[in-house]
Amino acid sequence: MSMAAITAAQAGRQRRVLPGFGLTMGLTLTYVGIIVLLPVIALVLKGAEIGPVRFWAIVTAPRTLAALQLTITAAALAAAFNAAYGLLMAWVLVRYRFPGRRLLDAMMDIPFALPTAVAGLSLTALFSENGWYGQFLAPAGFPVVYTIWGVAIAMSFTSIPFVVRTVQPILEDMDRSQEEAARTLGATPLQIFVRVIFPAILPSFLVGTTIAFARSLGEFGAVIFIAGNLPMKTEIASLLAVIRLEEYDYNGAAAIALTLVAIAMVLLVLSNWLQSRLTRRRVPA
């Protein structure tokens, strides 16, 4: 047994001394069991009822594939936008001091605080052909409402905070001596950013972008107002699940829902893995 393992084991034993294990374990398991697992199990059981052949047929049906493709493409567009915008915002908010900075910082939380349906209502009105933005965009040959761009814009709005809020603290805590060293060695600001700063914030940047992507995949309230629900074109996957439900097609609904939950699980595990790598790297420093 290595030294580290022994200390870890001791620490573990020592920790168990603290009271409340039974109580907190009981509460947590009750919550997780009733609120989270039971409904998900109901979904899995319903999915199992369908049988693999039928399940595969539902998930690979053209309309389902089109919906999944739209959802993933739009979420990727939204995540790409937020990666760029979030990085910009984190940088500007941490590195520069200017009047109104605190206000700008507070604005980053609006998409968390504002209900998504409200955001959807507002964005649809703004981007529709007679709206404030749409009246300029539509004649320019860039219709937004009822297109994939509308879906991507709604998703972008609701996932704005993720990249900013994960990159910001890392950028704040960063040791600036390396940058200064690079500067004295004659590196340009761009070189410093690419070679020194970006590698340091890369893990948190990736975590933020992954979460933004995952959140966009699941976004519903904001999207349905602006998407238009045109089969094969602007119908997101979670809406298709609900439409199947409303058509009495429980199998179809369960199969699509299960697929979305599986994708969510994969992304969650991915982001937790990234996160643990990130903290491991930060702890020694």
Partner: protein, 331 residues
């Protein structure tokens, strides 16, 4: 936690109706009947008060009628349903919630009023839309809801189909081609009839809205400024608006009597007058004459005559893999 929930629930309900009502029923209805029942319910409440001395509150839930039927199957505690499609009540009957012979429980096959799919176009009818033919033209944008969730849209489908059959001497393939072309002109499929209206009237999308005549009339009146124009096609399908008591729920809650009285009331001259004023066609000739301006002439065919009844329609057209699925890009 359970007691807390119950307390909160009691609190919520208590505040919802500060004066304890003696009777309360839930009418689960189709999407566009929002204003109609808002007008009918107070009239019934007053009548009920006069007849029995008891006060009654009628709660409303509106949505695509198939969606509503599913919610009732899942436990939405409806006392009565006022739908726009026989099959949606049949589903409830199959689930044991409604009497099997519900069509005999009230006059006119349990359908107190009827309507038909008709058109609403923009001011001056710029695309010259006069009949079903015009909907299949290139460059015409047609708005109606998702036929999988909305009974309203299923009537639109049936009416377009019936028109094409009539025109092509019963050629099924030609009719399917025609309906396919109409569906290809639809930019948005909303979940319910009212959402489609909002898309057309509020968001300004599409050249023509197809929905029940009751809706085209009401919306033309409400949007007088926009000068939307009603267009009645040469032929359409008679759309029954069947009603039923959800026996299981009503007996459970002890509301069977008031539920039946409520549906009976829909056949009374008072209610029929309200219905006709709101552009719903009624069987009473006197009242129809009173509101003749609301109801242009149209050749009406029935589902029984053209399609051989609802069971057959359900099997051939609306079931999974049926004709609707080939027309409506669905799979």
């Amino acid at each position: 936690m359970k007691t807390r929930l119950t307390t909160a629930l009691a609190l919520a309900l208590g505040l919802a109706s500060p004066v304890a009502a003696q009777d309360a029923i839930l009418n689960v209805s189709y999407d566009i009947a929002r204003e109609l029942f808002a007008e009918l319910n107070p009239v019934f409440a007053q009548k009920w008060q006069e007849q029995t001395g008891r006060s009654v509150t009628i709660d409303q839930s509106h949505g695509g009628s198939s969606k509503q039927a599913r919610a009732i199957l899942e436990g939405l505690p409806a006392d009565v349903v006022t739908f726009n499609q026989v099959t949606d009540i049949d589903v409830l009957a199959e689930g044991g919630l409604v009497d099997e012979n519900w069509r005999e429980a009230f006059p006119n096959q349990a359908s107190p009023y009827y309507s038909l799919p008709a058109f609403l176009v923009r001011e001056g009818n710029p695309k010259n839309i006069d009949d079903w033919d015009d909907l299949a033209q290139d460059g015409v944008q047609v708005i109606f809801p998702n036929p999988k969730t909305s009974g309203n849209a299923r009537y639109t489908y049936l009416a377009a189909y019936a028109y094409a059959l009539d025109k092509n001497n019963g050629d099924q393939a030609a009719a399917q081609d025609f309906v396919k072309k109409v569906f290809a002109n639809v930019p948005v499929f909303d979940q319910g009839g009212r959402a489609a209206t909002a898309t057309f009237a509020e968001r300004g999308i599409g050249d023509v809205l197809i929905t029940f005549e009751a809706e085209t009339g009401g919306i033309a009146r409400q949007y007088a400024d926009a000068k939307l124009e009603r267009v009645t096609p040469s032929l359409s399908v008679l759309a029954e608006f069947p009603v039923a008591v959800v026996t299981e729920n009503a007996e459970d809650k002890g509301t069977a009597e008031v539920s039946k009285a409520y549906l009976d009331f829909l056949y009374s001259p008072e209610a029929q007058r309200v219905l006709a004023r709101n552009f719903n066609r009624v069987h009473d000739e006197g009242i129809t004459a009173e509101f003749a301006a609301n109801f242009p002439d149209v050749k009406l065919v029935t589902v029984e005559d053209v399609f051989g009844g609802w069971d057959k329609v359900q099997e051939e057209h609306f079931a999974e893999g049926g004709i609707l699925d080939t027309v409506f890009v669905n799979q």
